[in-house]
Symmetry: C2
Subunit: 348 residues, 2 copies
Amino acid sequence: MDLTERKLKILQAIVSDFIRTAEPVGSRTLSKKYDIGASAATIRNEMADLEEMGYLTHPHTSAGRMPSDKAYRLYVNSLMGKYVIPEEEKKAISSQLESTITELDKTLNHASELLSQLTKLTSFVMTPKEDDNTLKYVNVLPVDDNTVVLMIVAKNGRVVNTALRLKNGYDPDSLELMSKVLTRSYRGRSMSSMLTVDIIEDINREAGRLGKLAKDLAPSFRAVLEEMLDVDLYINGLEHIFSIPEYADLERARDFMDIVRRKKEMTRYLLDRESGMIVTIGSENDLEPLKDYSIITATYSVNGRPVGKLGVVGPTRMKYSEITSVIEYLTQNLDRTFGLPEGDEDDE
Amino acid sequence: MDLTERKLKILQAIVSDFIRTAEPVGSRTLSKKYDIGASAATIRNEMADLEEMGYLTHPHTSAGRMPSDKAYRLYVNSLMGKYVIPEEEKKAISSQLESTITELDKTLNHASELLSQLTKLTSFVMTPKEDDNTLKYVNVLPVDDNTVVLMIVAKNGRVVNTALRLKNGYDPDSLELMSKVLTRSYRGRSMSSMLTVDIIEDINREAGRLGKLAKDLAPSFRAVLEEMLDVDLYINGLEHIFSIPEYADLERARDFMDIVRRKKEMTRYLLDRESGMIVTIGSENDLEPLKDYSIITATYSVNGRPVGKLGVVGPTRMKYSEITSVIEYLTQNLDRTFGLPEGDEDDE
DNA sequence: TGTTAGCACTCATGCAATCCGAGTGCTAAC
DNA sequence: GTTAGCACTCGGATTGCATGAGTGCTAACA
């Protein structure tokens, strides 16, 4: 059987209507509200065909039709129109994201908040994967007799630091020397390879008198590196659960919350996705508990390198057109914010 | 009318039972399950008295009694027993909170997660109020030609930093000089007073040649200070909404989520509370939307100074005894983690 | 005078019966 | 191939009814 012009028209109408109302669409509604050019009875015949072809389903005999995952897929690929973001919304996004302060985590989280506000769905953002980032320098700074701040700066400007209490006191000169030695030894090394270095041994060789300090620092040094390499997942807009008819009963709502809160699993799944704008619909998701949901993700870049993803999760019935446009615009803005100041890929 | 021995016994039984089951308690249940030493009929009479006195209510004629806020208050003040935390739970708390890395925000958030796990309620924690903290030093560190890291360290070891893009490039020497001058000028000043300084003018006076850099840094400098002074509120354990019978219908659950998400309002309300272990029950809360909920907060200290609060929010029916004990133990542990290494209140 | 047994009464809850209407599938006519 | 008409289906809302937990009150008892 063929997807005739008219069948496509009907399918499109059903998908749009269902996305809007979340109610199964009947043949009469369709013939009245949409310009199909055929009577309800004809539409009924067509709908029966479309159901046979796997594009529509039927919650029960006397209900209207609703789209299957296959229908959404067709809709996303070729039926849906391009959503034009209103100028004012664009301005709101841009202005909210630009700032002289490039605190990465904050900005990302902010972007995700924005995304959930705009889409009225639950959104998420992954912190960058820094594996192929390289170390720029290490700083050990005195705070007081027993407290120092250990700070690691990566080439792309990412900074992670922590205050730590040391068992022994050290003079500022030792700390400064330590910073110098550490930086000299490790500058330019990839972050991921740093996890395997033995700083105690390296320091002993380079500057024997810092041995004790190195021993004190080693575990924290590793912990800070780990934190930098760790991919975090921020979730925003959970409250929208309560406005989405699909989650109207508590069982479903809890189900959704459970999934989203399993961050480890989600992170792994999201990391595995391809780059760019990716839409996965219901059963297309490999992860079992996600088979009732759709996910849209896009990739953002830091210094021109794609390093992280952000997106939304929601019921398969979502405004694909609108959402993809918003996400696209959002990532473009992020890329600019995190971009190189003026294209200088320096290596110093 | 007097609160006789027997009335207290009955009241206590009702409160305990209701806290456990969330079901109105009937006279027969009471006479069977608790050792009151009176028949159901007598208990009924007593219950009628207690209701008249305002300790009990009645969802409808043919239902059992449930405690009023007044009853919970009496229960918390004098009826409830002391909950003894099992040794293994204590150990779990201690071990989860101790770590060489004193990353304040992380540890606090962790504590709140722990709290929500243990109480099966929604918990929160406020970041410290740093108003009377003083500045220890300022560091401006080069990352690459156009990027620097601005870092401010407070006397209590709190560190806030941000990477920023500058319009102009600066040599490392200027940055180092800037760090020195800023530190020299502002060391020892209270954080809150820092918000009003004019660093452009001060730098121009101290080191004229850094004028341009000062101008570039000024807005970020202020932003970092603001971030340090800002009191954040972390919320954890929202998922428990779905297991608490009081929130069984969506309306109530959404209501709760709305309240908790209004962080500004919550923060203000929490800041105003007294220090120490504070329990407010239902209508005792001044904030209108909180009048159906109970809040328990306690204060934690950094370097021996009480600076922030943490606690739980939930339905008025909560395990007051257990929760207060857990919170108490938790804050004690935090105080130790954030305490002075060995009582040295140095001023360097 | 306080306590208890007994009984009528109340009311939420659960269940079955019923009605209603939106929507379908099929047939027959155009 | 399209359409009008009609019988049929089935979920959802509504109603009525039985059940039982729990109360308040009265009267008898210690």
